[in-house]
Amino acid sequence: MEVPILKQGAVLIATFQAALSDADLNQLRSALVQQVVRFRSRGVIVDVTAMDVMDSFASRTLREIAHMIRLRGAETVIVGIQPEVAFAMVQLGLTLEGVATALDLEEGLAYLNQKFKTTK
């Protein structure tokens, strides 16, 4: 199952589907990094609203995505983590430290726009 990546101005939006395998996640990671370079995007939003389980692998992949994209000079924000998923994540000790988070797509865009302004 491939994750669709949408280009919205300077921002790329990747929307997760419910049942992503490790291979899908790895594929997403490379696709995102490639596209950030190709479109000279300034921000990436990863929307995980549909994810009903976020285990250590998914969590680590999200961190790697954020770090790799930062190396390309862009910002990443993870949006849409469900309350129950967040609770399970912290029980597992997965806190996505160093990665920006926001409630939903709208908040994520607001966060990035804010960032763009202050770093112009």
């Binding site: 395998s21 490790d22 389980v53 680590r60 129950e84 609770f87 399970a88 597992l92």
Partner: protein
């Protein structure tokens, strides 16, 4: 069910979630259970390549629960105590697998012999 690929991990946790909901767990608890199954199945794929995950509803005195058994014939865990300590990992993962799973569930049992494999049984009771 047999676990031998990352697709199986997704399948196992989906089955775990629906069984948990069938047993009357809240969706919050079902998420915790599905996450624990995901971690256990992942350990099988990354350390033993192939193994089994069994899911079962259980009846305690006065309460209902779910039992998850993950077993493999992989290399086994040489030092279980160390593996249960936060921050330990041998495959470069986050190293939070087992202690995390233990926190997600109510009961945790592990049997492992180097060279012969690992069996982990975890239970969660409906509050």
């Amino acid at each position: 069910m047999t676990i031998s690929s990352d697709q199986d991990i997704v399948l196992a946790r989906q089955k775990g979630r629906s069984l948990a909901l069938e047993l009357g767990f809240s969706s919050g608890d079902a998420t915790l259970i599905a996450t624990a199954i995901s971690e256990l199945a992942r350990n099988i794929v990354s350390y033993a390549i192939k193994g089994e995950v069994a899911l079962k509803g259980i009846q305690g005195s006065n309460r209902v629960g779910i039992l998850v058994i993950a077993s493999d014939n992989g290399p086994g865990i040489p030092d279980i105590r160390q593996a249960l300590r936060d921050g330990f990992s041998t495959s470069g993962s986050l190293g939070l697998g087992l202690p995390g799973v233990r926190r997600l569930m109510d009961e945790f049992e592990i049997v492992s012999k180097p060279g012969q494999g690992t069996t982990i049984g975890v239970k969660k009771w409906r509050p």
